[in-house]
Point group: C2
Chain length 307, copies 2
């Protein structure tokens, strides 16, 4: 027999009456009429089947039982104040554990560099970065915010677009020396191509916009992985032609380990990046702060990646 729904409001009212020492005072604090207080107190006693207060028009006296119940009410009052305090803290203060889910490569390049700033701004937030290139169920795994790449399936989740990934087509000098450099998208069909793949999405249909308009190529995969950084390594090692987020390529391109291909063509539409969270209503302050933060900091980095 756990918390009983019926007796609880009565207990609250009883507590208030005892604190004031009069029904009238309690009624004033509760914004009620005296009659209501009287009735509810009487009903509470009826529910318990015992008198709690001996009442006269002038004085109230606690019964022996009333004293015991009053003590318990004190305990409950303390717990309730805790609830209030905790909730208030949770709503107003940016504090607590914040679980963020993100694909590992995206995090390494775009997100992790920002975290020191976030941590400095909100030092009381304990970030728990969950890097995994798989589908995560936000509700089940208690993830506060997920950063997801690609168009989203219909869902009850709220998604805010952070920007679009800028793609680039690259290969290593060694690979190009051996197999030649493609001049048009159609040429790619004959090459070994590297692309990202996780359980959800297989990116083997590449779309270009060039002099002849839009062209699509379904490429053969020499290697498909769910780790973008490993893909870059693979490309550097000459395993094939890679289509990947431009931000990952700044160092290999600068050092000449990788070369840019098809400069006259642009990748049609970069995949959108979203910040996703379970519900818009009553978003905890820490989550709201994080979303605001990445909207300001993350999005510009996507738009103008430093090469």
């Amino acid at each position: 027999m756990p918390l009983s729904l019926d007796t609880l409001p009565g207990l609250v009212l009883f507590s208030c009456v005892v604190r004031h020492g009069s029904l009238t005072g309690a009624a004033q604090e509760l914004g009620l009429n005296r009659s209501s207080v009287s009735k509810q107190l009487a009903r509470f006693e009826a529910q318990l089947g015992a008198k709690l207060l001996q009442r006269t028009t002038r004085k109230l006296a606690l019964t022996e039982l009333g004293e015991r119940v009053w003590q318990e009410a004190q305990t409950i009052a303390a717990a309730l104040e805790n609830v209030d305090a905790i909730t208030e803290d949770y709503r107003q203060n940016v504090r607590g554990r914040l679980k963020v889910s993100c694909s590992s490569s995206l995090a390494r390049v775009h997100l992790v560099p920002l975290l020191p700033i976030f941590n400095q701004r909100y030092p009381e937030v304990d970030l728990l970065l969950q890097l995994e290139d798989r589908f995560v169920d936000l509700t089940t795994e208690q993830v506060d915010i997920a950063i997801r790449v690609g168009h989203l399936p219909d869902s009850s989740l709220v998604a805010r677009k952070l920007g679009e990934l800028q793609w680039q087509l690259v290969a290593s000098p060694g690979y190009l020396a051996k197999h030649g450099a493609p001049q048009t998208p159609a040429d790619l069909a004959g090459h070994a191509c590297l692309f990202y793949q996780n359980g959800l999405r297989v990116m083997n249909l590449w779309t270009f916009t060039g002099p002849k308009g839009e062209e699509q190529v379904r490429v053969k995969g020499a290697l498909a992985m769910n780790d973008a950084c490993a893909l870059v390594d693979a490309a550097i090692n000459g395993l094939g032609i890679l289509l990947i987020d431009r931000a990952l390529l700044s160092l290999p391109l600068a050092s000449g380990q990788l070369l840019s291909l098809l400069p006259d063509y642009q990748l049609a539409a970069g995949l959108p990046v979203y910040a996703v969270y379970p519900a818009r209503e009553w978003l905890p302050a820490k989550a709201a702060a994080f979303v605001e933060f990445i909207l300001q900091e993350f999005a510009p980095r996507l738009a103008t990646p430093r090469l």
Copy 2:
């Protein structure tokens, strides 16, 4: 900001939902419809301004705040179970402190001799006998039961008549030798009379029923006190003629210290003795047991005092 009336039922419901892990289960336990549970839970979250449970049609997951609130709810649940247990104990078990108010002389003669029996029958009751010959306010002084002599003023109290005190008129042989023995009630007017008096009642109007019918005498007081035993001592010492409870006179009469007067007259109406307690409704078990006890044991002693 103490216990809040509004948030408490929601907290109970939330606790129930968490315990079951589903709204449907909670609804079944509470005997409610699913919709009601859903609505109330939503309202509770709205009141707090924060989400407590991430809900899917299949799974429920506690928010970080939800976990904290759930912990507090556990505390409250424990306190509430205490309230239930205490109340049950209080109602059903004859146990605890029982404060009884009684005039000292009445207690010494009639009540105290019974207490060992009561104590043996209800060993878990701690009797607190408050002996005082003055008016006591039951509600203010947290007296459970009072035993009062004489007709009661109108009151919200419940009174159960235990019987009537049997009066007797006595004096010491020494006093009678000096002042002579009264032959009729009217003779008493010339004597020094001893009678009981407390703040409430002055018993100086004595009523007799004799051969000539009812006779009343307003006596002069040689000594009036609020201690019946002391009055007996005074009478033994020859201070005057005493009208007092017959039960107090068994030893002095047997030993000849006091002599009975006006044997042809009877005291019209003995003063009634009442057991008085604040309210009939929800009388605690201990008080009910005591009242029953003195009704069975006390009343016969009044009716047939042992001389």
